[in-house]
């Protein structure tokens, strides 16, 4: 079919207007189609297929989703583990991070030193952290149970005990709180001093200043960390893979870990894609709810 004739000058004009900019963003544009949008839609397609990487995908309709929802207790288990982790570790992480930031913001001498001390543990690579905590949490000759025994207490078997394994990972997560602490600290330092002076002149106690000035003005940063924390829980993988591989008795079978196992240990790629889509939807919904709720508790601008 013959193309409708286009005058070359118009193309040239269009190119002069848009060409340079499009050329500059072309690396991202190509990557966007090859590594994001393309895979994004093929993942939808694959989630309706049985696919093992080696053979061609076979269309199975909604079977993967049906199995997930009705016949796979491990799916629900992994969702439950992830939700438990998020519900405990995200708020605790926020409270500890904010508390540390407030302590550091009191302008004591050596603030930089303490900031470094609390920040450093969060830059230990995840794999190194997993190895070190496997050793520290060793039930028999590990550090933590050794300390507990010195205090006359008998510690649990931590990672080997289905009742304690998830708590062990939550506990370990506290050592990563330094990253968000630095963000809170920056947020605190942005709060104009005159607000505190005004509050003090009005006779506000330290507690009231914290409650009425500091915390409200910190809510945008808390909000950011809340969203990131929830999303992060659904990506939690490395530590669980290395330290427990989901055990004992599935007590640390995180969502991302179970998805990985379905994909690369059972070569159940279609199933894994369906799981990925469910987590995508869940993340979107939760983020949406949190964003909706922000109107009620997040104070933007001073």
């Amino acid at each position: 079919m013959p193309e409708p004739p286009v005058r070359p000058s118009r193309i040239r004009k269009w190119l002069r207007k848009n060409g340079t900019g499009l050329l500059f963003i072309s690396p991202w544009l190509v990557g966007f189609f090859c590594f994001t949008i393309g895979p994004f839609f093929s993942s939808v397609y694959l989630s309706f297929n049985s696919y093992d990487l080696v053979h061609r995908p076979v269309w199975v309709g909604a079977a993967n989703y049906a199995t997930l929802l009705h016949d796979d207790p491990m799916f629900w288990q992994s969702l439950w583990v992830t939700v438990k982790y998020a519900v405990v570790s995200v708020p605790v992480g926020i409270v500890v991070g904010v508390a540390l930031a407030i302590l550091l913001n009191t302008k004591v001498k050596g603030q930089t030193l303490f900031r470094t001390i609390f920040y450093l543990p969060s830059i230990v690579p995840a794999v190194a952290n997993a190895v070190v905590f496997s050793w520290i949490l060793n039930p028999e000759i590990g550090l933590i149970n050794g300390i507990l025994r010195s205090l006359g207490l008998e510690g649990p078997a931590w990672l080997n005990d289905p009742k304690w394994a998830l708590w062990s990972l939550m506990l370990m997560g506290l050592w990563g709180v330094g990253g968000s602490m630095v963000i809170y600290l920056a947020g605190l330092q942005d709060i104009p001093i005159h607000l505190y002076e005004a509050a003090t002149l009005d006779g506000a106690s330290a507690y009231q200043r914290l409650r009425k000035v500091t915390l409200p003005l910190l809510t945008p940063v808390i909000f950011f960390n809340l969203v990131m924390g929830i999303i992060g829980s659904f990506q939690y993988f490395t530590e669980a893979f290395i330290m427990t591989n989901g055990g004992p008795e599935g007590s640390t079978s995180f969502y991302a870990l179970y998805l990985f196992q379905r994909a690369w240990q059972y070569l159940d790629m279609g199933y894994a894609c369906a799981m990925a889509w469910i987590v995508f939807v869940i993340t979107m919904v939760i983020t949406g709810i949190v964003f909706q709720s922000q109107k009620r508790w997040v104070h933007f601008g001073h």
């Binding site: 207007k17 966007f32 302590l103 303490f114 190194a128 025994r149 920056a186 690369w264 790629m269 990925a276």
Partner: protein
Amino acid sequence: MTRLQRVCVYIALIFLSIPALLPMTWMVSTSLKTDKQVFATEGKAAPTVSLRSLIPSPLQLKNYPDAMSTVPFRTYLRNTVFLCVVNVFGVVLSSAIVAYGFARCTFVGKPLLFIAMISTMAVPPQVTMVPVFALFRALGWYGTYLPLIVPSFFGAPFFIFLMTQFFRTLPDDMAEAARLDGSSEWGIFLRVVLPLSRPALATCAIFQFMGTWNDFLGPLLYLNNPNSYTVAYGLQQFMSKNGGQWTMLMAGATVFTLPMIVLFFFAQKTFIQGIATTGVKG
């Protein structure tokens, strides 16, 4: 603040510093101990820990060469450094180019494309993981470094976003002067904007370096030859094969962690500012 309050804050900070530093201290201390000291209490009724058990006695450095010869640790280090350098170069260069387009050029559909780019950050990596893997496998890249390198040359949305914000803050007069002198947009990017953007470039470089250094899932998915492993993957393999050899494992973990600590101390300001701004503006 009263004196009493100040003292209380100090006590709290010092008290909290102990658990904060304990895991790292224990890692280094174990890496310098003999197996005899580490396992001395094994089998005893109630092995306790005292302050003395923090100090290696006798102190031995042998765990480090031992760990390095049990697994090809030097090769892992070389591989990781290689990947880090290539990825930092690729991602900083490509992200800066793309950010320049978004910040300082006009083209059709720019606001929409910018929003599309930001939104991709919200897509969980699992969603694209399987098709991307299938793509790289079909290209014959499985078992090579290409899947761990090539994507970085297409820019990273987070860095593009950071640099776009940064480029927008740069004054326009220098670029305008260069334009009047007949410089092309590319020339302005290279000779005017890039030299002014060192702090933003440094922040992105550091984040990418850490990201590649720490990356575990990438090597786990794509590398199949032990000689091509990174330190992250090699250390995990070491642990799963030689579990319980804690002195050597801690030596490996120390060598793996140390560059991050060193990097932090050299680039402390960039680090803290980078993290703080990303958090507040993110």
